[in-house]
């Protein structure tokens, strides 16, 4: 069996497993006063500090939640209060659905190009008119892996007094580039950054100068035993891709690399999910900039997380989450590229192939062949991949992501292959063989009327 559906959930990392096992026997509620409670609280707070450092924020500004969906919902509801919403056309349903809930008018949709990259000229036009906005833009797309120009979007947002929430769920464990040594693009000095418009209630904290300063320069990488906790390898991105040179995230500007860091990305909040980085499911976090940290809870309960999220903290899950975030990652892009090339040779078209992408993800459309048939055929060959957005019924609907990219019929003919952290060359060989058999069998019989254009 070959598991190539990491973007649905990553296999548990051994580091996370070990941390969870160690925490499972910890008796006590982290909110309790006694020593049991204190001990568990220490586990939680250690994890919080570790995660905050890893993702470029302050521990006090990290709110543990149940997962990525809740993190997005909390951001939309808390930061989007009294603001109009602008969301990317390819956002995850966690954001789309939250943006549609409540009595507010529906969100404005920020269009994307054929590779799934958000149109920043359109964003500027949208920001220029209308009241204060909350913009939601994902760092990396779950279906195509397309990476958005978040920093550029953040600069725009700040220019117009908008807030930017970033769903970093898919990117978090996979874009582990070097934290830039040089402050990014001098233009983003505090003097040129317009003052943030703060919600009532958050103003008190946000107006403190030390808080403001905390968001501008990236924090020094926390070190453990003399080694940085970050990977310092070059970003595992499509460096061979000709589009990359012209892409908004030009590698000639090291500061614009999409390191998953609140500080570096210049956004106002980051949604994170444990099970997408090799931790356990059931826990995630919303990391906020200091001046916006005092958000109103969606779930109030016992006032945990400084009143920002009620409910007893899941200490073992949190420990596993932090351990997964500390784990080293290798660059899966050579394996991904090999799979992709073989699929192209078998007739596939890569969706979003012209954009900078996550190193583990490829979205392969087989013209004329229903995506669900492809997924089923591969599953019967022992290869686990996915397609579009699977509903709870298990049916596969046409992908709103690929539709937004203007791919038409291909939107219901594409599968997502996403390599987990432990993918091997043997896995990819098995995938390639199965994909070729699948394409041979399904193309003539499943789509007799469709002349499938072969990709070069």
């Amino acid at each position: 069996m070959v598991y190539l559906d990491a973007n649905a959930t990553e296999p548990l990392r051994p580091e996370a497993r070990a941390a969870m096992l160690a925490a499972l026997d910890g008796v006590g509620n982290p909110s309790s006063i006694h020593r049991y409670g204190r001990s568990v609280r220490r586990t939680v707070e250690d994890a919080r500090e570790s995660l905050a450092a890893r993702f470029g924020g302050r521990p006090g500004d990290l709110v543990f939640v149940s997962g990525g969906t809740e993190a997005d919902a909390l951001a939309v509801h808390a930061l989007g209060r009294d603001r109009r919403l602008i969301i990317g056309a390819t956002e995850h349903d966690a954001v789309r659905s939250a943006a549609l809930s409540g009595s507010r008018p529906g969100p404005a949709i920020l269009p994307v190009d054929r590779d799934g990259i958000a149109d920043l000229d359109a964003l500027r036009a949208m920001l220029r008119t209308g009241g204060p906005a909350l913009v939601c833009l994902m760092l990396a797309n779950n279906e195509t892996g397309t990476i958005q120009p978040i920093r550029e979007a953040a600069i725009l947002c700040r220019e117009y007094g908008a807030l930017l929430h970033v769903d970093a769920v898919q990117a978090a464990g996979r874009l582990v580039g070097a934290v830039p040594a040089v402050a990014p693009r001098g233009a983003i000095a505090p003097t040129t950054t317009p003052p943030l418009r703060l919600r009532e209630g958050a103003g008190g904290r946000g107006s403190r100068p030390q808080d403001r300063a905390a968001i501008t320069p990236p924090p020094a990488p926390p070190s453990r035993g003399g080694e940085t906790m970050w990977q310092t390898a070059p970003l595992p991105m499509d460096t061979a891709n000709p589009r990359l040179a012209a892409a908004p995230m030009d590698t000639s500007h090291p500061g614009s690399r999409p390191t998953v860091s609140l500080a570096t990305l210049l956004c106002h909040s980051l949604a994170l999910s444990s099970h997408k980085i090799g931790g356990p499911p059931g826990v995630g976090a919303l990391l906020l900039t200091p001046e916006l940290s005092a958000i109103q809870a969606l779930i109030t309960g016992g006032g945990q997380e400084r009143g920002r999220r009620g409910g007893t903290l899941a200490a073992p899950l949190i420990a596993g989450f932090a351990a997964a975030a500390r784990a080293n990652t290798s660059d899966p892009s050579p394996l991904r590229d090999a799979a992709e090339q073989a699929a192209i040779a078998a007739g596939a078209i890569v969706c979003g192939g012209g954009a900078p992408r996550l190193p583990n993800t490829t979205c392969l459309a087989l013209p004329g062949v229903r995506a669900d048939a492809q997924v089923i055929a591969l599953d019967l060959e022992g290869i686990a991949v996915s397609a579009g957005a699977a509903c709870s019924s298990g049916k596969v609907a046409a992908s709103h992501v690929l539709t937004a990219m203007g791919l038409g019929d291909l939107a219901s003919q594409a599968i997502r292959v996403s390599l987990p952290w432990n993918a091997t060359a043997a896995d990819i060989e098995a995938f390639i063989a199965a994909y070729q058999r699948m394409a041979d069998r399904l193309r003539p019989t499943m789509a007799p009327k469709v002349m499938a254009p072969r990709a070069a």
Binding site: D372, A373, I376, A377, D379, L380, C391, S392, S393, G394, K395, V396, A397, R441, L442, T445, M446
Partner: protein, 357 residues
């Protein structure tokens, strides 16, 4: 062998999956998502999948077989639901189950099964597949009360060759339920499905009104010579042969009336005395499961799902077939006329509206 089982979540197809799995086959369960269940029930926010999909998955879990849900909503909407409303608007009485079998179930599922490398597609229908000299034959089920052969007349020979109907020989439904219990399936006591699947409350008029509102506009109930006997609330509410819901038009003087035809264009329902009928039936979209008969074919035919077999002669025509019934009857346009030789299904077609009717 690798067999795809069309699993509805009901007892019958669950037992089929269980039997074939027990027999050592590699069984792949497939459930079609045919319509948005939440929307059909009018419950906003309800899941698009109904209880049936959940049940099918749990049966597959229990058996330890693969199971997939295929989204056939748009296909079902076009080929079955829209056709259903169009048919009423054209003055006919549709059989959506035949359309569904003809398109979504057998055409699409056999294609899918072949694409997945399966040798057979098995379903829980109560019909028998008999190996004949020229390929598979379609026969009535052993249990006459359960026989579904009338609904499967449009299955093509190529589809039939790929199909398996393991329940066709079962003596009755009780035996099937007992088998489900033996297999440890939780659906053993699940009630049979009723009526039309996409019309949960039986209120098919709501769907027709949404898609073809003109078929539910009021009009006159008239006799064949044009006398107005009463009013009606839409031609879609009437089927040829129907005696109910005619109101004051139920009687013409002392004579009890039944529907002879509907005229959607003039929004009229034509009634006449009981006992009216015709010997000549014109069919379209005829499917043959035997070589095309060169001469008139003497056989028995069935004009409705629950109707007696009638003696008839069927002749092939350019547009389908012409049936001469031994005794007059009231065939309802849009329904199927299926030809039998004993238990064997020879073919069938859809009944056309008679000229001027």
């Amino acid at each position: 062998m690798r067999i795809v089982v069309a699993m509805s979540g009901g007892v019958d197809s669950s037992v089929v999956a269980g039997l074939l799995h027990q027999a050592g086959h590699e069984v792949i369960g497939v459930t079609l998502q045919l319509y948005d269940h939440g929307a059909a029930l009018g419950r906003k926010g309800a899941c698009c999948a109904g209880q049936d999909i959940h049940d099918a998955r749990r049966v597959a879990d229990r058996l330890g077989i693969a199971h997939y849900v295929i989204d056939s909503e748009s296909r079902f909407s076009d080929a079955v639901i829209a056709d259903f409303a169009d048919s009423y608007a054209a003055g006919e009485t549709p059989v959506p189950c035949v359309r569904c079998n003809q398109t979504v179930k057998f055409a699409d599922m056999t294609t899918l099964a072949r694409g997945l490398g399966a040798e057979r597609l098995a379903t829980g229908h109560y019909v028998r597949r008999v190996e004949g000299q020229a390929g598979a034959e379609l026969h009535r089920a052993a249990d006459p009360d359960r026989d579904q052969s009338w609904f499967l007349f449009a299955t093509t020979q190529a589809q039939l060759d790929m199909c398996d109907f393991p329940l066709g020989g079962m003596p009755d439904k009780r035996a099937v339920r007992a088998m489900a219990a033996d297999l440890g399936l939780a659906v053993a006591e699940k009630p049979d499905s009723q009526d039309i699947c996409f019309v949960p409350s039986g209120g098919y008029a709501d769907i027709v009104r949404r898609l073809r509102p003109e078929a539910l506009e009021p009009g006159e109930i008239v006799t064949q010579d044009g006398r107005v006997l009463g009013q009606h609330e839409g031609v879609a509410r009437f089927t040829v042969g129907q005696g109910k819901r005619l109101g004051v038009a139920s009687f013409d003087g002392q004579e009890r009336q039944i529907v002879l035809a509907t005229e959607p264009g003039r929004r009229r329902v034509i009634v006449g005395p009981r006992g009216s009928g015709t010997r000549d039936v014109v069919l379209r979209e005829v499917n043959w499961l035997i070589p095309l008969p060169v001469e008139g074919l003497r056989c028995t035919v069935k004009l409705r799902a629950r109707d007696a077999l009638r003696g008839a002669v069927v002749r092939v025509t350019d547009s389908g077939a012409a049936v001469s019934l031994d005794e007059p009857a009231l065939p309802a346009p849009g329904q199927a006329c299926v030809f039998y030789d004993g238990d064997r299904v020879l073919g069938g077609g859809f009944i056309c509206r008679s000229e001027g009717g």
